[in-house]
């Protein structure tokens, strides 16, 4: 592997890593933080649901689905930027 290539790979991995950390931070908030404070959130009404309950039955779930699709969209951009996308 040439030096040029190595530099590109390091750049690619640095961006991939940053993206992953951001995704995990969002994951952590909607997996744990919002449910820890479910009691307080239940005081707020959302679409007729107590908000804390809503996160546990729909909100967090929907955010997980969207989070994966958004991460993959961004990861595809990173892969293409460094010329390592394996899109056919």
């Amino acid at each position: 592997m040439s030096e040029n290539n190595r530099e590109a790979m390091e750049g690619h991995w640095a961006k991939t890593r940053t993206l992953t950390f951001i995704v995990l931070a969002i994951w952590f908030i909607f997996s744990f933080v919002v449910h820890w404070f479910a009691n307080s959130l239940n005081g707020i009404s959302f679409l007729g649901f107590p908000l804390g309950y809503y996160f546990a039955v729909q909100g967090s779930l929907a955010i997980f689905v969207i989070l994966i699709f958004v991460q993959n969209w961004r990861q595809d951009q990173i892969d293409e930027e460094f010329g390592v996308s394996d899109k056919e």
Partner: protein
């Protein structure tokens, strides 16, 4: 021919879905013509299993790539459906809504955990394992860390975790087959196993993939149709998912007046009375328990080999990632329906303003209801009069948690054809998960233990015959254990997640994310984590004092930290991996180029 099939997937499964709907309509017509409920139940189960077996037969193969990774040509959306079926077990289908009904807010940790885990699968595992190009999860461990011992430890953890899980699934197929076909449970278990093996034996991963797609279609139709129909019949809205917030609040108003939370004075084996409030998150300790359970289920999701190996079957790394997104989307469809079902069923039973209410009615009237009689007869429901006042109180109404799904069509007065559909859906859910698990175990034993460790010179034919023999042997062992009826379905499922995350989570994650991780560290991580978790489970099961309230469902909270510390400490105490291994990790991190295994074998 195969290429043709892949190009025509949309047509094939479109036709299949249409055919299934026509079959449902035909059954509805037969019901109107007076065919008995029992006959309709039998036809639903037999017809669907015959279709899966047909797909299994058409997908038969003697090629290694097709047998282990479905030829790596499964498009992202279809792999998403197959993963969703692989993932959603008999427990998800039958017991999830019941769990929410009985468990209240604390149980929702399962719902959050079993969906959020896919964020970890996508962010940490799937694309990298796909690039690696392994056939099995121990194949990754064995190649990344090198050496037979590391490979063997991974096989060990995989077998224990998956076997715990598969007995629960064979148990579920047995229960459903026994009820639908009206045969004893012990026969039902072996009948279920036969169906499971028909799907997987001839075609391995290729056959399992295409039957799982078919099973997903059946199970999601079977889950959504009754809920949406019930909601329309009872006036809860066209699509109940967005409008049941009022029902949640109404239940909260009713709970004090009905004295929900008063402990029952009697008890019946396997049956429960409702004592938990529907939406009461509790204090900090409940928050901790929620956190621990959700975390264990998420990390378990990201370590369970039968899930991870589904992402080895896509054509590219990019497709592996996309298919994780689709997997979670297809899982989401069921998981965001279950709480709606649990809430609406509860409201129907509790709210005195609704005609379906039973709580607060006279015991004699309740006992005269058709659905109460049916389910009491099979011992899944019990109405008593503990305080002798002739009125049914909430703590005098006992049922098995599976009833919430199974009896919904009857409570709402839907035709029997819907109950037959639900039985076919439950069967599809349990069979598809059992197939994935059995294949994960048999493949690890045939590829990693037999081919890589015992006889590396074995030819293709021998390898694939060994794989099939192992499939039968493990299936039979699973059916035998299931027929002993050792634990409830859900306990065993949660254990499988904790075994998997205790032994495999950190060795898998750090294999990609930490170049310095070496063989000694990985072995220490797998063995110490797995042993610590297993010992803690045994200790708690035998009445030991819980550490920080962690019970048998959450023993991964003990196993995982031990695994992480052992792996990091031992890795740092021993020499760093050689240059070739470090290059291998670099290669794993970029999507382009040969798979790492191919490059490794060339070198």
């Amino acid at each position: 021919m195969q290429g043709n099939f892949i190009d025509n997937l949309g047509k094939v499964y479109g036709l299949y879905t249409g055919g299934f709907i026509v079959f449902i309509i035909l059954m509805a017509i037969l019901e109107q013509l007076g065919v008995s409920a029992a006959a309709i139940g039998i036809m639903f189960v037999i017809f669907t299993i015959a279709i899966y077996a047909g797909i299994g037969w058409l997908s038969r193969t003697m090629q290694v790539d097709a047998y282990y990774v479905a030829g790596r040509e499964v498009p992202a959306v279809y792999n998403g459906m197959a993963t969703a079926a692989d993932w959603m077990s008999g427990a998800s289908f039958v017991a999830l809504a019941g769990g929410i009904y009985f468990g209240g807010h604390g149980y929702l940790a399962f719902v959050v955990g079993w969906t959020g885990g896919y964020v970890l699968v996508n962010a940490l595992m799937a694309p990298y394992l796909r690039k690696f190009g392994c056939y099995t999860v121990p194949d990754f461990i064995g190649t990344r860390y090198g050496g037979n011992l590391a490979r063997f430890c991974a096989v060990l953890v995989l077998v224990v975790a998956s076997f715990t899980y598969v007995t629960a699934q064979i148990n579920a197929t047995g229960t459903i087959a026994a009820r639908a076909l009206q045969i004893p449970f012990e026969f039902g278990v072996w009948f279920g196993l036969l169906g499971i093996l028909l799907c997987s034996m001839l075609g391995g991963m290729r056959a399992v993939t295409w039957t799982q797609v078919a099973q997903y279609i059946v199970l999601i139709i079977a889950y959504l149709v009754p809920v949406i129909w019930m909601s329309n019949v009872q006036g809860f809205g066209v699509i109940p998912h967005f409008s049941y917030g009022d029902a949640v609040q109404r239940i909260a108003e009713l709970e004090p007046t009905l004295a929900v939370g008063t402990a029952p004075t009697e008890s019946f084996a396997g049956l429960k009375a409702l004592t938990n409030l529907h939406n009461e998150p509790g204090g900090a300790f409940a928050g901790w328990k929620f956190f621990a359970l959700a975390l264990c289920m998420m990390t378990g999701t990201a370590s369970l080999p039968h899930i991870l190996m589904r992402y080895f079957t896509t054509p590219s790394v990019r497709d592996a990632r996309r298919s994780v997104g689709w997997s979670l989307f297809f899982i989401f469809l069921l998981y965001f329906t279950a709480p709606a079902l649990a809430t609406l069923t509860k409201l129907q039973l509790l709210d005195p303003n609704l005609p379906t209410a039973v709580i607060g009615k006279s015991i004699a009237d309740v006992n005269n209801l058709e659905w109460i009689k049916n389910w009491s007869n099979v011992g899944m429901l019990k109405v008593t009069d503990g305080n002798g006042d002739g009125i049914l109180q909430i703590n005098e109404f006992f049922m098995r948690s599976g009833i919430v799904v199974l009896a919904t069509p009857e409570i709402a007065g839907l035709p029997y054809v819907i109950s037959g559909l639900v039985a076919a859906g439950g069967m599809a859910a349990a069979m598809s998960t059992a197939d994935g698990l059995l294949l994960a175990i048999a493949n690890a034993l045939s590829h990693d233990l037999y081919y890589k460790i015992i006889d590396p010179k074995a030819d293709t034919k021998t390898r694939l015959i060994v794989a099939r023999i192992l499939l039968i042997v493990i299936g039979a062992a699973g059916a035998f254990v299931a027929s002993l009826k050792l634990t409830g379905i859900l306990g065993a499922v949660a254990w499988a997640f904790c075994f998997a995350n205790s032994g495999l989570f950190f060795p898998l994650v750090l294999g990609v994310w930490w170049k310095r991780a070496n063989r000694q560290g990985a072995i220490a991580g797998m063995l110490c984590g797995f042993a610590a978790g297993a010992l803690y489970l045994i200790y708690v099961q035998n009445g030991g004092t819980k550490i920080a309230g962690l019970d048998g469902l959450r023993f991964g909270m003990i196993g995982m930290p031990v695994s992480l510390i052992a792996m990091v400490v031992v890795s740092l105490m021993t020499p760093e991996p050689d240059e070739e291994t470090q290059k291998m990790v670099d290669e794993t991190r970029i999507p382009t180029g040969d798979t790492v295994i191919v490059a490794h074998d060339k070198a």
